[in-house]
Structures are given as structure tokens and as C-alpha cells.
Symmetry: C4
Subunit: 286 residues, 4 copies
């Protein structure tokens, strides 16, 4: 887990401390500026890819958009390399959630040289915006996010049970409609497709691309709708209950581990929960 | 209730104890393996039937899929017979929920020799997956399921009242639209069909296969939508309240009755709640 | 409020006591039988009208269905007259909710002699099924209904505020789409129709009979959907809160006032809350 | 913030006190009458604009509706000017929420002389109806509105987090469908449009104007629907929790500041929370 080679030169240590402060911390003015610039670059680069997918723009501005895209990817690639260098345990960072997202955010553009269309995958770059809360120094947002995630985690078992129940209902319902209407209604020409229709119906989405035409089929569909309409109460009840039970909120800082870049440490934390490195010591040193 | 004939040979008793342990219990390694294999077989056999219903696959692989289907049904038939033999009160098992589901899971294939298409009914086999919780030894899942079921049971009266109210609303609404638009709109050509439309609207499914075209009709539809949109709050409120009230959770084991195969006994239970047979004694004996 | 003329003959008093017991009370075997027969007749007569509206049945069985309809209406007319005679204050009964529903349930058939189609209005007869709870002697259902109604009444102000907010949103949204797309999209050819579309969208019904085609229109629609999707939380939260606060349940009897037929008296009630007549005295007398 | 010029003549002071009482207060009979008349005028003028947008009416009654519209705007313009004169700090009023709404309610008609169609913007006049609660002297409505707003404000952070999550889901989902179906399905011809489809799906609106046609696309759509169906539980849970926590209700008066017209003062308030002017003193003086 410690991929650094031999002794580090004091110059490199200083560079790393500086880079870590700039990239991972948001408490200094420079760190904040860096984060805001990054945020804007991400938004623009995602916007560029979206524009490029619109036929009208693609026809006229295809080349300039592609150059912009290459430019942004170049910047993000440099940023990714500096990130790796600025932590003492680059492997831990590279295999963390944000490490993987950072990598996935630059690969699609390079892949586009070989596979046309893959550049659109860079919308995954949007996931980097999850850092937005830390960037803005909004501790309350981080705490609220964690409180939602915790509520959902505690109710996850019940939600899984509910989803299994829904899956069984749509399977049986879809098969019933397939048996009823497959001969006369093109929309129900296979069981998987009928199950797709059943999901569209029970979740109250209701595209209308497939809909029953026989009286029995419409009767079954009506029952499915009322079931779906009433049954939505179950996950809501489950989640509400957990939210109400979750009174206390855990306090988190926006300190980032100097060794592996992990985030979400407690105020009282002195060591990284992921790689056990002491927190903030390098900043104190420098 | 005791259909065993005369005295049982010690050999048969031993076989039954062994079979019961293998099929009904999930605590021994063999019992667990049996359950997991069964789970996989069920999933594959349901998948086979679904594939068979897709026109492209049906054209090319109809025969091989049908042979597979026969093979799975053969296995499940043997399993069903062994299940019947392994309990001391086969009739109690055969008339229990899982006993009926087990039977319904094999009949459709045999019926398919006489009625084309009936083999698709075996998706009911999916209900056997409800055993999945016991199979995985996940007591918490069983407890959570029971807690959801209990909450729903306690709020069932209120939900029935709510559904009766919804039924009245859609009946009156459907009739109103029938009177308004039956002459000019093919979609409202009968009251039952207009009620079907009203259900599609109030539950916010909204296929769009039938929709009002007159101003008055659209006005009534708009009221129905807002009503349906606001009224969804009622079942949610009912269920949430019950979930919040249901603080305590009942603890259940995954022991299965040696006589009738009933499941869901309390930790403190010493006798089966369904047939009064002492629990676990045969296992202790063997 | 006391329309009885002069002194009543003892014979009439006896008839009225008997009729009241039969029609309004559900505690005696005859009273129960009467209610169940009535329930079945209502369901059949509503079914007859619905069948009559289906083109296929209308063509072949129009006459027999009409005769059946006349027959049922005849029975309900007699029942209505006896109901009026069996209470001491017929006017109070006639102007009560059930009195009006009872009258509205028979008028449409007679109107059908003058206005074709009006017979379909008798589906309002379905409202008489609200008596079903009393008929079945299910006090708990009555109590639960009242508990739901009370919760809704207490949260009615908040729901009205919420609906006013929704109305403003859909008005502004509909006008915006009208200004954007009225020239190029037939669906938005007037503001009321655009508001209809906005309601279809915000309530997540989504017929698809009208949908925006410009980018700006789709962008606004997307915002409206997310708003509607998130805002559904508000009425749910309001109603849930009231349901949770409503811990105590009010106990009601299924006694019916001998003078005006009002229902829903408390167990401790000795006088009718609507016409102040002493409760149950006639039954005790007879 | 004090734009009054020099000393005010006693006559003007008296006029202002009178006008303020009439327009801003609802406790006197004249004040109430003024508010009710205003309410009716607003409703009629909005109705006139809506009628004008319906092609059938526009053809026949275009001129009379336009004259009516001018007439109403003239009245509202006078009212706006008197409102400005009746407060001592007109700038504070003019830049308040209702001040801006009042201005926006009259501008569109004048703009219509230059830009055809802009008169429809006056539906924004509908926002003036928010005063309806004060007009009717319904303190409870004001309190309930504030209680809803407070609950939403307290849960706003969590709702923002939830919406960001939804935005990320629909972005990734829309891009996935674009990559899958852009070549064969006209509906997914650009990423923004695919995201529009994803929003239509996840919010369970489901127009059906765009829907996936490949098996993989329908599979992804089904997952999105179930996700959207289950995830609606989250905002509901958040809001319900806040509603339940919000036990206490803040009491507000319907007194209006004599200087800037601000509303929503506490019963114990003696000074305006917006411009610090003493409350009610002029009324006491006059």
C-alpha cells in the first residue's frame, strides 16, 4: 500500500504538500479558487459534449467542439496525474470512489480515437460534481447527504423486499397479459416485453406505447394501476419512518487525508479511517 | 390429518428424516446447497419460458427450449414427491401455501400437452423464490417482511375504505365522461371503458390511449388528476402511521416443522403452530 | 321540522316502528336480510346500466336491460316512499345526504322517458353502497372512515393552500407554453388547453396527447415534472402528520334515529344530534 | 430609503392615512370591500385574457376583450399609483415581492402595443391572489401557509441534494439511451432530448412521445421507472419528517406596515421588521 520509491527528496515533499493543499483542501483561498475553477470546467466540458450530440450543432461546430473536448480532457489528465503525485499512497486514492470517477472522466475521450461515439461517455464526469458540497465548504450539505444515505441504508432491507414483491407482481401480470393479448396485440408479443409493459403500468409511468385492447386486459391493467397507486405508500412509509427515527446527525469535516485523499473525517478524527495516516500533519509541518 | 398407513418401517423413517433435513432445513451444508441449487434451477427454468415467448428465439430454438422445460419440470416433480414423502402429514403440507405453489409450478408443463400456451403459466414458479429469504438464512429479511405485512394488515381496513372511495370516484367520473363524449370520441364508447379511462387518470398512469377531447371533458379530467394527485397522500399517510407505530419486531426462526413443513416458528416455539407436532425432535433423534 | 299531520293512528305508529326497524336498523335478522338484499339489488342495477352502455350488449339486449332497469327503479321507488313514511320527520330525512342520494338514485330512470341517455346517471346509485359498512355491522369500518375524514378535515386548510399553489403554477406554466408553442404546436392553441396540459404534466399523469416540441418547451416541461414529482411530498407530509397526531378514535354506533334516520350516534348518545329525538325509544316501546 | 420630499402637507398625510387604511388594511368594512372588489377584478381580468387566447372567441370577440383588458389595466394602474402614494417609503414597497408583482401585472398590456402576444403575460396577475388570505381575514390560512413554507425551508437542503441526485441519474440515463438508440430511434437524436425523456420517465409522467424500442433500452427504462417509483419516497419522507417536527405554529397578524406595506407581523410586533417604522401609529393618530 506504500508505493513510494525509497526516500523522497525534500523538494518533492514540499511540492506534494503544496499540491495536496491546493487540490484536496478547500480551506485556503487558493484551494477554494482551484475547486471553483474545476467545477466550472467540468460543467462546461459536459455541456460541450451535450451540444455536440445535438444534430444541428454537430453538423456546423463538430470540429471546434471536438478540439474543446480534447483541451478539457488534457487539463483533467494533468489534474489526475498531479492528484496521484500529491498523495503519499496513490494506489489507495486511485482505487477509491473518486479516484475511479476521476479516471473514468478522462478515458472516454481517448477511446473516441478508436470507437466513434465513446466520447459521450464522459458525462460520467458529472459525478465529479458530487465534490461540489466540499468545494463550497457546506458542511451541512455533507451531513444532510449522509443522513439521507444512512436512512436509506437502514431501510434498504425493507426496500429490497418491496422491490422483490413488485418484481413478482409485474412478472405474473406481464405473463397474464401475454397469454391474453399476444395473438391480437403487437405490443404483447413476448413475455419480457409484457413485463416491460407491466412495469410501465405499476410504476404509474404509463407511456401508452403498449396498452391492452381487450376488456379482460383492461380490467387486469386497472387492477394493476390501483395496486401500483396504493402500493407506492409502502416505500414512502418505510423511508419516512427511518427519517423520523434518525434524529441525530453525524458531524463531518471537509478535511482530506494527505496520504490517500479520503474525505468525510469526523471532527474528532486524528487518523484517516482508510489508510491510518495522521490527518493534517503535513499542513502543520509546511 | 395423519395419512400415514400403519407402522412405518425404520428404513423409511430414516429416509424421511434425511430428506426432511435436506429439503426443508437450511442449517446443514447439504441443506443449504440443496436450496441454492433449487434457487438457480427455478431462475433458469423461468428464464427458459420467457425466452421461448420471444418470437425470434421461439422460431429458432423452440425445440431445445421445450426439452429443457420438460427436464426442469421432471426435476421439480421428483422434488415435489420427495417433499410429500419427507413430511409425516403430507396433506397438511400439500394444502399449505407453499405446497399449492409447488404443485402449480409443475402442472402447466403437463397441461401444455393438451393446451398450447399453458406452459407460460409456469412463471408462477417465481413464487417459490419467496423461499429465498429462508434459503439465504436471512432472519432479518423474514422479520422485516413480517413487519411490513403486519403494518399493512393493521391498516388494511383503512386501505379498503380508501379503495372503495376511489372506486366510487372513478365510476361516477367514467359515467360523466361517457355521457359527455361517447358520441364524438371512440375511446368513451361504453361505461366500463370510460371507467377504465378514469382509473388510468386518477392513478396518474395516463396511457393516453383514451383522452378527452371536449373542453368540459378536459376540465373534468383535470379535476380528476388533481384529486388523484392529492389523494395519493391518504394511503401513504395511513401506511406511514402504521409503520411508525410498529416499533417492535417479532423474532422468527428458519426451523421447518418435521410433520407438515410449516415455517416461521418463534425462537421459543416447541410445537408446530399448524399441526402441533413437536419441532426438531426427529433431527435430535437421527 | 315536524310535518306529521295531527295525531297518528296507533296502527300507523306500529307500521312505522316496524318499517323503521326493518329499513334503518341492522341489528335484527330481518333488518340485516333487508340490507343485504338491498346491497345486491343496487350492485345488479348498476351493473345492468353499465352493460347497457356497451355497444355489443346494447344492440342485442337493449329491451330486456331497460325492463330490468325499470323494475329495479320501481323497487327503489317503493323503498324510498316507505323510508319517508317510516321516519317521524320525513323532511329532515329527505334533505339529509342519504335522503338526497336515495332520491337521485331513482329520478334518472324516469327522466329517461324525456331525455335519452339520462338513465346512465343512475350510477349515482353507487353512493348508496356507502351504507355497506353499516349494513355489515362493521363498527370498526365506520370508525376508521371517520378517523380518515377527521384527519383530512383537520388538514383541509393546508391542502387548500397547496392546491392554490398548484393552480398558480399550472396557470403560469400553461401560459408560458402557450406563448412559446401556440404558433407551431396544435396542442397549445389556447391558454385553457395549455393549462390542461400543465395539469396533466405536474400531476405526473402524462397522457401525451399534448406535449411540447421545442427545446425550450421541453426544458420548461422537465422543470414542471421535477417540481410536480418533488411537490407531491407536501400533501403526503401534511396528511401523514395529521394521521400520526390522530391517535384517539371516536366510537360510533350503528343506531339510526327513529325520527329522521340520521346515523353515526355515539355510544353514550341518548338524543339525535340532528333533530334531538330520543334514540331507540320506539324500539323499546314496541 | 426615505424618498419623501421635505415636509408633507397635513392634507396629503390625511389622504395617505385614508388610502393606506383602504388599500392595505382589511379590518375596516371599506378595506374589506376594497379587497373583495379587487379580488373579483383580478379573477375577471385573468379570465378575459384566457378567453382571448381561445381561437373561437378570439375570432369573434377579439376587440371587446381587448377593450376590457385595457379597462382593467387602467384600474390596476391607478391602484398601483395610489398604493405607492399611500406608503411613506414607496421605494421599499416597490421593491418588495408584492410591489414587483403589482407592477408586472400592468406592464404586459402596455407592452402589447409594441409586441403582439405579450398581453398574455398578465396571467402573472394571478400571483396577486396570494393576498386572498389576508383579504378574507383568515389568519389561520396565513399561519398554515407559513408553517408549510417553514417546513419546506428547513428541509430545503435535503431536497436540493435529492434533486441533484435525480439530475445525475437522468443525465447518465439519458446519455445511455442516446448511445443505445440514437441511430434507430428519432426520439433519442440528441443528449438533451434523451435527458428530457429520462426526466419524463423517472418522474413517472410518461408522455410516450419518446419511448425506447430496443430490448436493452426498455430494460434500462424499466430500471429507471422502478428507481423513480421507489425514490419518490425520499422527498416525501424528508418533508413528512419536517412537518411532524414542526409542532408549534407562529402566530401572525394581518396588520400592514404604514410605511412600506410589508405584511406578516407578529402579534407582539411594534415595529416593522423591514423598515423599522412603528406599526399602526397612523391609524391611532387619525
Amino acid at each position: 500500500m506504500k508505493p513510494q520509491i525509497g526516500e523522497e527528496s525534500p523538494k518533492f515533499r514540499k511540492f506534494r504538500a503544496k499540491a495536496h493543499e491546493l487540490i484536496f483542501e478547500a480551506d485556503t483561498p487558493q484551494g477554494k479558487l482551484f475547486d471553483v475553477v474545476l467545477l466550472i470546467l467540468i460543467l462546461i466540458s459536459v455541456g460541450v459534449v451535450m451540444l455536440d450530440s445535438v444534430p444541428d450543432y454537430h453538423k456546423d461546430y463538430s470540429e471546434i467542439l471536438w478540439i474543446l473536448e480534447l483541451f478539457f480532457t488534457f487539463i483533467f489528465t494533468i489534474e489526475y496525474i498531479v492528484r496521484l503525485l500529491s498523495v503519499r499512497k496513490p494506489l489507495v486514492y486511485a482505487t477509491s470512489f473518486f479516484g475511479i470517477v476521476d479516471l473514468l472522466s478522462i478515458i472516454p475521450t481517448y477511446l473516441a480515437f478508436f470507437f466513434t461515439g465513446s466520447q459521450y461517455l464522459i458525462v460520467i464526469r458529472g459525478l465529479r460534481l458530487l465534490r461540489v458540497f466540499r468545494i463550497l465548504g457546506l458542511h451541512n450539505f455533507v451531513n444532510d447527504s449522509l443522513s439521507i444515505v444512512n436512512s436509506l441504508r437502514r431501510s434498504s432491507r425493507k426496500i429490497v423486499i418491496f422491490l422483490l414483491f413488485v418484481l413478482m407482481v409485474v412478472t405474473i401480470l406481464g405473463t397474464a397479459l401475454y397469454l391474453l393479448e399476444s395473438d391480437i396485440n403487437e405490443g404483447f408479443n413476448s413475455i419480457p416485453r409484457s413485463i416491460y409493459w407491466a412495469i410501465v403500468t405499476v410504476t404509474t409511468v404509463g407511456y401508452g406505447d403498449i396498452s391492452p385492447i381487450t376488456s379482460t386486459g383492461q380490467f387486469l391493467a386497472a387492477i394493476a394501476m390501483i395496486l401500483g397507486y396504493a402500493v407506492i405508500a409502502v416505500p414512502t412509509g418505510i423511508v419516512s419512518t427511518e427519517f423520523i427515527r434518525t434524529g441525530k446527525r453525524i458531524q463531518h469535516t471537509n478535511i482530506s487525508c494527505p496520504d490517500c485523499g479520503a474525505e468525510g473525517h469526523y471532527h474528532s478524527a486524528r487518523y484517516c479511517f482508510k489508510c491510518s495516516a495522521p490527518l493534517k500533519d503535513e499542513i502543520i509541518e509546511s
